[in-house]
């Protein structure tokens, strides 16, 4: 019996659409296209991509709303209130406003880089969603190296930020871009080392396998050092307070996106939150058991239709809520302090976490957390 996956749904949808098209048009080639697997597959992939795009964008916009409301509560105010129920539509209004705005480009700016930077930043952030598995029926995460691929695409960002910063021809943008590049490169290393710890325990680079390995226990317990390193590095990668110095508004106006307005700025904004969403999703996938639930949760709560997606999104939003909490309560660190923390603290810690993971795999069973499955699942 084949499992229903998002991709199989898209494929069936493409097939039915083509069949309907041929039937309505009464046109030979259109009817014949249903029989051509290449055409059906191509259309299926397009539908798959469209669903992913819509889902990720919608989630991002809801995420921004969620952050605004949560930040508002932390700050003793209410956040967005007026557009839609509890301000739910405020971000759509904001997006519409940005969409309508004229895009201005500084006189001496490099035209190609100025437009290429934000676009590529946005696209590269969106691409990651094609790789992340959200639930069991999401076989895109089953690629043998899906985790590696996701992280590779995730680490494209500093290049695009730097391109857009440099091509803006603004000193603040340039400084922001340089800071961003330095920061992301410095924090890429502990991030990847923390991931290595997970990979060592799970024995696979496939995100789906990593989640399946967490059926017995979630990895955050035995790999708590790796989790701490990963969260800290992820905060830096997402450029959120306390590590938001590339766009530290106090000294750099808006950092690398100072010169951007209108839709290009919206691209930056959306991509930032897409990356924040990706970061939260990765934490859930790697450390919090993805869509699985521990055994003590009653089965009614874990077996209803789409339960996997529900639990997954709940965990993701809780993790993002933690980031919002951090943002509401911590000041910003300085560039040199940030780099010192990255190189002097997080990298040794991440190496320690790899060592601990290796020890865990050799010991096999831990008294509290249970036994590690054999590598490779």
């Amino acid at each position: 019996m084949s499992t229903v996956t998002l991709y199989s749904v898209s494929y069936d949808l493409a097939h039915d659409l083509l069949f309907l098209l041929g039937w309505i048009l009464h046109y030979g080639p259109a009817a014949a296209a249903v029989e051509n697997p290449n055409v059906v597959t191509g259309l299926g992939v397009l539908i798959f991509a469209a669903i992913l795009l819509a889902a990720s964008m919608l989630n991002t916009i809801v995420l921004i709303w969620y952050e605004r409301k949560l930040l508002g509560r932390f700050m003793d105010r209410r956040g967005a209130m007026h557009v839609g129920y509890a301000g739910l539509l405020q971000n759509f209004a904001d997006g519409l406003k940005l969409f309508r705005k004229h895009t201005t480009q500084p006189a001496e700016a490099d035209h190609v880089g100025f437009y290429f930077g934000p676009t590529a930043y946005m696209v590269s952030s969106l691409v990651i969603f094609g790789i992340l598995p959200i639930s069991t029926g999401w076989n895109s995460g089953a690629l043998p190296l899906s985790l590696l691929l996701a992280l590779v695409v995730f680490s494209f960002a500093p290049l695009f930020i730097f391109v857009s910063a440099w091509s803006s021809n603004n000193k603040y943008s340039l400084m922001g871009g340089l800071r961003s590049a330095a920061q992301m490169i410095a924090y890429e290393v502990p991030l990847l080392l923390a991931v290595v710890a997970v990979v060592v325990v799970a024995g696979s680079f496939s995100l789906t396998t990593i989640v399946y390995e967490q059926q017995n226990y979630w990895f955050w317990g035995p790999l708590v050092v790796a989790l701490v390193v990963f969260v800290a590095a992820m905060l830096a990668e997402m450029e959120r307070i306390p590590f938001d110095l590339p766009e530290a508004e106090a000294e750099l106006v808006e950092g690398w996106n100072t010169e951007y307005g209108g839709m290009l700025f919206a691209f930056f904004m959306l991509a930032d939150y897409l990356r924040a969403l990706v970061g939260s999703i990765l934490i859930v996938l790697l450390f919090l058991g993805g869509w699985t639930m521990p055994g003590w949760v009653p089965s009614a709560a874990t077996s209803f239709p789409l339960a996997g997606i529900f639990w997954f999104m709940l965990k993701t939003y809780l993790v993002f809520g933690l980031f919002v909490w951090v943002r509401a309560s911590l000041p910003r660190v300085r560039t040199d302090q940030l780099l010192r923390v990255g190189w002097n603290r997080l990298i040794p810690l991440s190496l320690l976490s790899v060592f601990l993971a290796a020890a865990l795999v050799s010991v096999r069973c831990l008294p509290v957390f249970g036994c590690v499955p054999s590598p490779g699942g």
Binding site: L174, M175, A250, E251, R327, L330, P331, R334
Partner: protein, 381 residues
């Protein structure tokens, strides 16, 4: 990246107003700074020469938009000295009340802006929220939240409304509580200490040489507070301590301002108690007749010009929330002051920028300037 000049301002989030800090940077290090003021010059001193003594008060509110009451007080003291008018005792206490509430409002505003420069988002709104309570109190007895026009030559405009003391005490209790929260959010945060300790050091002798006053001077361990050293109004009759710190850095200035707020609360409690038990007039009864009328009645201009009133010079100095402010009012017997001159504490504090900014990082400029507490309105006047 080699050395380059960047303009931080006149429209930059760091400036908290309208001035320009030209910074020569080498990578992330500050090599030289050059503060440029004057973007907000409105000619307040010159305009004052064409105004009635009491009309100048409206300008004082606009002189410093976060500490309008302190500037009113400053000018009024100078004008009273020039006109040889003495206010009744209750007015003295009311002025101390205004001053200290203004100090609270101004320091809360400073707190909000300063933590915002460090990237702290929630305390910024906490500071603004609590400042609002102070503004509400101001509104309840002056009718305005920022431009009060409350003080008058020879007293104040009106007495406090009924119930004011209770409302104020509630606010003071609330604030006392909040100061602990502020400290927990700032001093309790390792990142805050790492950012602020040893930052923007301005030692005592250097500060004195540059004419730096106020919390910046006291943070360097110099015990100088005009409220104690040269008491005016009712400050010699209230009990308080001068806030001091000896680290001379951003943390020191933070500590001094927080302690000043606590002392303000202490002073305010005493003043409120005194006001409860000593009703009386709030304006001197022997005022020059023309001080009551803002404009000369039609046909009486000649009379007003010809009147014969003693000439005089008035010099006053007060401890404004930002530092020591001076006013110099020349009364040549006319209905307008002949000359009005102010000394702005922030101007001196800003002028010394190269002593406490050079050698630090670009990212340190906002917190350091935040700890200076810039109010551009009074710098440029």
């Amino acid at each position: 990246m080699s050395e380059m000049w960047i303009n931080m301002g006149p429209q930059h989030p760091m400036t908290h107003g309208l001035w320009n800090l030209r910074v020569q940077i080498d990578g992330e290090l500050v090599r030289a700074v050059d503060p440029e003021m004057g973007y907000l010059h409105r000619g307040i001193e010159k305009i004052s020469e064409d105004r009635h003594y009491n009309e100048v008060i409206t300008l004082m509110d606009r002189c410093c938009y976060v500490a309008g009451m302190a500037w009113e007080h400053l000018y009024i003291l100078g004008a009273e000295a020039a006109l040889q008018v003495r206010p009744p005792e209750r007015a003295d206490y009311l002025r101390v009340l205004c001053d200290e509430f203004q100090r609270l409002g101004s320091h809360l505003m400073w707190y909000a802006a300063f933590v915002q420069d460090l990237g702290l988002m929630s305390p910024f709104l906490y500071g603004m929220r609590d400042r609002d309570l102070v503004l509400d109190l101001f509104q309840s007895f002056t009718g305005a939240r920022m431009t009060y026009e409350y003080m008058r030559v020879g007293g104040v405009r009106n007495d406090l409304p009924p119930g004011f003391a209770d409302r104020s005490r509630k606010v003071l209790d609330w604030l006392d509580d909040r100061f602990r929260e502020y400290d927990a959010l700032c001093l309790g945060s390792t990142i805050f200490r790492k950012r602020c300790d040893g930052l923007g050091v301005l030692k005592g002798p250097e500060a004195i040489a540059h004419g730096v006053t106020g919390p910046m001077l006291r943070a360097a361990g110099v015990k100088r507070d005009l409220r104690k050293d040269r008491p005016y109004s009712a400050y010699d009759r209230v009990d308080f301590d001068v806030a001091l710190a000896d680290s001379a850095d951003v943390t020191g200035r933070y500590l001094v301002r927080m302690e000043e707020m606590r002392q303000s609360v202490r002073i305010l409690r005493q003043v409120l108690d005194w006001l409860d038990h000593h009703p009386g007039p709030v304006v001197a009864d022997r005022l020059p007749r023309w001080l009551g009328a803002p404009y000369a009645p039609v046909g009486a201009e000649g009379y007003l010009l010809k009147r014969n009133y003693p000439k005089g010079l008035g010099l006053s100095a007060i401890e404004e929330p930002h530092g020591e402010a001076l006013s110099y009012v020349v009364n040549d017997g006319g209905e307008h002051p002949y000359r009005v001159k102010f000394r702005s504490p922030v101007f001196a504090n800003l002028s010394a920028a190269s002593t406490y900014l050079v050698g630090y990082h670009v990212a340190d400029i906002p917190p350091i300037m935040g700890s200076v507490d810039v109010c551009v309105g009074e710098v440029d006047r």
